[in-house]
Amino acid sequence: MEVRRPTIEDWDNPGDLVTINIGPSHPAMHGTLRVIAQTDGETIVSAEPEIGYLHRGVEKLGEHLTYHQFIPITDRLNYCSAIANNVSYEMAVEKLMGIKVPEKAQVIRMIMMELARIADHIVCIGILGVDLGAFTPFFYLFIQREEIYEIFEWYNGARLTNTFGRIGGVEADLPEDFEERWRKLLPNLKKAIDETDKLLTHNRIWMDRTIGVTAFSPEDALSWGFTGPCLRACGVKRDLRKDEPYCFYDQVDFEIPVGKHGDVFDRYIVRMIEMEESIKIIDQAIKIYKEFPPDAPLMAKVPKIIKPPVGEVYSAIEAPNGELGFWIKSDGSDKPYRIKIRPPCYMVYQAFPELVQGEMIADLIACLSSLNIIAGELDR
């Protein structure tokens, strides 16, 4: 049945249905998303998301900055895990130029990316909890996130927007006390994850709120272009870290958690397990890292002014949210001719009307939080 999508004109003649405008200034809409929902009582008949409230013209800006200058801009795409964006972009440019990154730099990138993944999932799960009324796990998790930030800060001096790495490598070696910090953080992080698990996972209220809510079939998910945890929650075992390995992901041992129904609960569980897997990866990566001599190269030899040859490449990595890709077209000058970012949550969010149809208003919020829509990369 084709349902007419609501528009803003429905405000004036709503008929039997109530049109509710949710956002952009709504506590659960992360400040920048907007959903116009038609509701029958509390049930959503149809919902239409509107995006673009954080469209900052990143792609256009990229055409006016040099390759190097664009790195800080990528920080501001998915700001929950800036490092993954940085690395994705750098890998795209490196691919375009045919640079092979020194292995030690790759290990450092891997460690940092996994830390960023944990930080990202912490935000997602914490916000999911807050949006469902459970505030406390958010605080428990954020304490640990703060510690992860501290690691970032001691690495290169910024907490959130790290501007990590350079084209051709990384800008610094891991600090000497990195492992010490990590060891200090590890038990607390595990404890925080465990406490969240205790507070939420088996709580019937939580289960009622999440299980079966906005379930999605794998076929639909693939057709809509889902990637990352949302796709894995639907039961498709796909992870670029395993399927198209980069860095050292083919040399570390980790599992890919897969859900069954693609509902909010599965997304939550997949993220929870992924955090634990990331911890495993970091532990192994630190072992690999230690095998390198302290003065092993961290940067490939790149010219001072980066001028890739004419061409176009697409390179993607598994960001915390899914496949984050950069398509770069170069015209041989020091500025990219066109940068196209393929943000993971863009694809996920466009399936939103289908996801929430027939659910209740409260589920809309739960669904939105569990998809982990980051406006920065959604609108670019």
């Binding site: 109530v18 505030f135 605080f139 709580n203 939580w206 009622d208 208003i361």
Partner: protein
């Protein structure tokens, strides 16, 4: 002379309620902070105790704003309708046994009505008016949703609440709250304090759950569910009107806790100890008051404690829990109680 005492009692209990509702807002903030590994407001006065006063001053001096589309009368009426029942309900709940001053026996209760029980039920149901009127008067979709949610929720939970209380009435055989309190002395089955909770464990459970729903507290805080409908019925309210809503909530909590203590936790009676035997008349009066107040505080704190632990229900789940679980359970409880009484008496 009697009306002087009555006025003193009214004023006292109002200020007392107000005081503890104020302290509760502080306790809520500090308590939640302590649960969440942080500190909470600690800058205003010692331990941040003056925080509620600062809030009050600020809300009082804030611009009183009424949206153009709001219904003037209803908009103004909402908070008042919400706050008044919360205060009035306390009229019949005893807050201590009795105090003898100058040979005159003063009951620590504003009005010793023999149907006090029914009065509480009736007044408690009134609070929903404040929410729904406020929500409707704001003329905001979120507010109306919040108001509707709270209506459905309060009506649904009024039923198991009443049924649970009815079972308690079966046990005590009276509608008089003072009488109920007095019945809970001595021991039950030889070793337990003779408290309602031991005679009516299921009833107590249902009462507590329903009380959370009546008070709109997590996990039943749907009418003001922050992440769903912004601030629910008080979305459009600011300034002191909002203050009344926020404040009324805590007064409401205080009343509910007091009712719970009166019915199920032996009011001012200590387990195994009869205070009246070894305390003077005045000190006994004060002691009974303090004991009662301490018990109420425990309940108030448990409201906070639960709030910061569990997630929120969804609307239909609240209804399901109310109609499909609590009401049958309450009926079952009623049946068992009736049978038991019929067989033993």
């Amino acid at each position: 002379m009697n009306w002087v005492i009555a006025i003193i009692k009214v004023v006292f209990i109002w200020t007392w309620c107000l005081l503890w509702a104020t302290v509760m807002t502080w306790a809520e903030r500090r308590g939640s902070a302590m649960i969440q590994d942080r500190l909470g407001p600690n800058r205003a006065g010692p331990f941040g105790l003056f925080q509620p006063i600062a809030d009050g001053i600020k809300l009082f001096t804030k611009e009183e704003f009424r949206p153009k589309t709001a219904r003037k009368i209803l908009f103004n009426l909402g908070p008042i309708l919400f706050a008044i029942p919360a205060f009035s309900a306390y009229a019949v709940i005893p807050f201590g046994d009795k105090i003898v001053i100058g040979g005159k026996e003063i009951l620590l209760q504003v009005a010793d009505v023999n149907i006090g029980f029914l009065y509480v039920l009736a007044i408690g149901a009134l609070a929903v008016y404040g929410i729904v009127v406020g929500g409707w008067g704001s003329n905001n979709k979120y507010s109306i949703l919040g108001g509707l949610r709270s209506t459905a929720q309060l009506i649904s939970y009024e039923v198991p609440w009443g049924l649970a209380l009815l079972a308690a009435v079966f046990v005590y055989g009276t509608f008089d709250l003072r009488q109920i309190a007095l019945e809970q002395t001595g021991t039950f089955l030889g070793f337990l304090p003779n408290w309602g909770v031991f005679k009516q464990p299921l009833g107590f459970l249902i009462f507590t759950v329903a009380a959370y729903a009546e008070a709109n507290r997590v996990p039943f805080d749907l009418p003001e569910a922050e992440s769903e409908i912004v601030a629910g019925y008080h979305t459009e309210y600011g300034g002191m009107r909002l203050g009344l809503y926020l404040f009324g909530e805590y007064v409401n909590l205080y009343t509910l806790s007091a009712l719970c203590v009166t019915l199920y936790f032996g009011a001012w009676n200590l387990p195994y100890i009869d205070m009246s035997k070894f305390l003077g008349p005045i000190s006994y009066g004060i002691a009974s008051f303090v004991v009662f107040w301490l018990k109420v505080m425990v309940f108030l704190l448990s409201f906070i404690w639960v709030r910061w632990t569990v997630p929120r229900f969804r609307y239909d789940q609240v209804m399901r829990l109310g109609w499909k679980t609590l009401i049958p359970l309450a009926l079952f409880n009623l049946l068992i109680t009736a049978l038991f009484i019929q067989l033993t008496v």
